[in-house]
Symmetry: C2
């Protein structure tokens, strides 16, 4: 029997307990041994909940119990999760987590402790919720050099953008509705400003490129400025607006960015709607691949955490190599990154296209019937720096959105 | 250094050699040791090809060399691949393969030999080409009870169906074009009759359900009867026709079938086009997930085979448990399986809808402007048996296609 402890009985923690109880028979079979929840740590009481039997309030009870071999950290936030995780690993206990803040900030250090101790620190649930992506990156796509990993990594913003497109509704209205339905937090900043996606793409890039990508180095732009007019133009050119986290490697240099991007129908990311997430990968021999699924939610996230528990059980005293290393790739200046841009500008298509093409060269124009006094156009691919320089010459520009090439 | 041998220097075999040469640095790092191709077995000569240095014509050279620890079987077909694989495993050598015929027919037996010898028989490339699916099923989705695994598992037929829809072209014309471009074999039967997809869904079902699914038990219908008119109706109802391999488990019973199916835009399978493949999974806690990528092709397939070689190298004398067992699930009679049906019938919508609804109850009608003298309708969900009984009462029915519920 393998004894485990769950730190935190919130949404994910209670999901982990539920999943282990629901599927115990098949889980034990796959783990090769019975998995038993010996402790659940939480500061709160849960009167009447069956968890009461195993509930403890003091981490010392867990860390000092030599029977506990696997610890599930689903507290969220950096502290005390960091201290507890570090102490657990140093005591030779495996740790599985869904905590993206902690993995993005201290993942490298915690993985190194696990490696030294020949145990495991696993975090499948930290990126893409239930979507298996960390383990495939680590143990399936090993024949490839991965040159791109990009994804729709935040369910809340994808839900908002999908609703805006479906209902021709404004950002603020959809956000309010999402908050009422529980799809968005009361303080939605981490989601709508792109910070959540930023941490996830930092983790995924580190694993895909076998180096260390600092989330603070990633250019991040949220969806708060996207309007219903933008969404109408997107439909007009047969594209959809997604909050895309993109990371690319070229000739030993890389860049990563999070921003709203127009995605065309030829991309499998185009039709990833609602709270679903998807992660796109390009490998130098594999070509294109995409992983799609529930990016958040109690049970999908718990499914990924428990999958890690099973993997830990199968490798109790054997480190599963992860390619995340302290090596740093040279960062490309975001100003050098090239893509087409979609632009909205005040004026009339017939009257003002001349001055636009004088600055941008040949562009593809687009008009939307019920948006008057302006028009839109898509430029040829150009660097961010070149775009900014040109755009400065046209004071009537309303907005610009990057286009996935 | 780990010595390997490659059996077969055809498309996939030469791809394996190319991938190992191209990415040798990162592959060796991930394997933890240098991977060296000591032998390539083929009956043919390859004058001037660098493979000449390691080319052998006799399997005995390989099986009798104790240095060879991993064998890559990419010959295709059942014999001599079966004999070679069995002898290799019995001699304690790991085997990696892309050979779906062999895995579907003898996978259970070969996996059991590998288990006894504490080595591995891996076949990631046998289903879905480069798409990581076997390993995620085996080591990521372990917290779930999987109740559905369905997929677009054959690139040739998906290419043909996509082209038919894009160009309003007939099956025969697109098949001819696909043959000229090398996307379809000169003898296309295994693809267009669904036999290839059938073998793959048998393998995937066996792993997903932890039992043995015999491919000969799977109802299989190909795409040869799909016409350009069917494709036009599909567009008329906002759906696309896919050759879908579906396997579902309910209350300890299961069914699997391969057939053309109308898929709606709310399914992520809808927009899987061209030679791409995708595998959809539903788990009882995970919910929906989908894996997308190149289902065939020299390098994507080789990427999956070499990923298996790396995994074998990391687990040289340690069996990676696979859940495929000799247990058999009770099969559901395909006649009891329920879904809506799309039907084309001779007549006029206004004149004949009465007699249709007398038989089928309320249906959703659809007309296509340039297809005269007939109309289409979609029934409520009903069993195959009920549909057949009702359809027998309407002699003017032209065709029927199942609809994904």
């Amino acid at each position: 029997m393998i004894q485990i402890a769950v730190l935190g009985y919130g949404t994910v923690g209670s999901g982990v307990v539920e999943v282990i109880n629901t599927n115990h028979e098949s889980i034990n079979k796959k783990a090769g041994e019975e998995i038993n929840i010996k402790y659940v740590l939480d500061l709160r009481e849960f009167p009447g909940d069956p968890v009461e039997d195993v509930l403890v309030h003091d981490f010392e009870t867990i860390i000092n119990d030599p029977e506990v071999q696997i610890i599930v950290e689903v507290m969220g936030g950096v502290e005390p999760a960091y201290t507890f995780t570090k102490r657990a690993l140093e005591a030779g206990k495996c740790v599985c987590t869904s905590n993206k803040e902690l993995v993005a900030r201290h993942g490298l250090e915690l993985l190194e402790i696990a490696r030294e101790k020949d145990i495991n620190y696993l975090f499948e649930a930290s990126c893409g919720g239930g979507i298996p992506i960390i383990r495939p990156l680590n143990s399936s796509l090993t024949a490839d050099e991965i040159d791109e990993i990009s994804g729709i990594l935040n369910g809340t913003t994808n839900y908002i953008l999908t609703k805006m497109a479906e209902e021709n509704a404004d950002f603020e209205d959809v956000l309010k509705e999402a908050q009422e339905k529980g799809y968005a937090e009361r303080n939605p900043e981490a989601d709508v400003e792109g910070f959540d996606a930023c941490r996830k793409i930092a983790i995924l890039s580190s694993l895909a490129f076998g180096c260390h990508v600092d989330y603070e180095d990633i250019y991040t732009e949220g969806i708060t400025k996207i309007t219903v007019e933008d969404v109408k133009y997107a439909k007009g050119i047969g594209m959809s607006i997604k909050l895309l986290a993109t990371s690319k490697r070229e000739d030993g240099r890389f860049y990563a960015m999070v921003s709203p991007v127009l995605v065309g129908q030829d991309s499998p990311l185009y039709s990833v709607n609602g709270v679903f997430n998807a992660i796109f990968i390009h490998g130098n021999v594999l070509g294109d691949a995409m992983f799609y699924g529930s990016g958040a939610g109690k049970l999908p996230t718990a499914s990924a955490v428990v999958g890690d528990v099973v993997d830990c059980a199968k490798h109790l005293h054997r480190n599963i190599m992860m390619s995340w290393s302290s090596k740093r790739l040279e960062r490309m200046d975001i100003k050098d990154v090239e893509h087409p841009f979609f632009v909205r500008i005040k004026g009339s298509m017939t009257g003002d296209i001349g001055s636009v093409e004088e600055v941008f060269g040949k562009v593809k124009t687009v008009g939307v019937p019920d948006v008057a006094g302006e028009f839109g156009f898509v430029t040829a691919p150009m660097s961010e720096a070149a775009f900014e320089e040109k755009a400065a010459k046209l004071p009537d520009i309303i907005t610009r959105i990057r286009v996935r090439a």
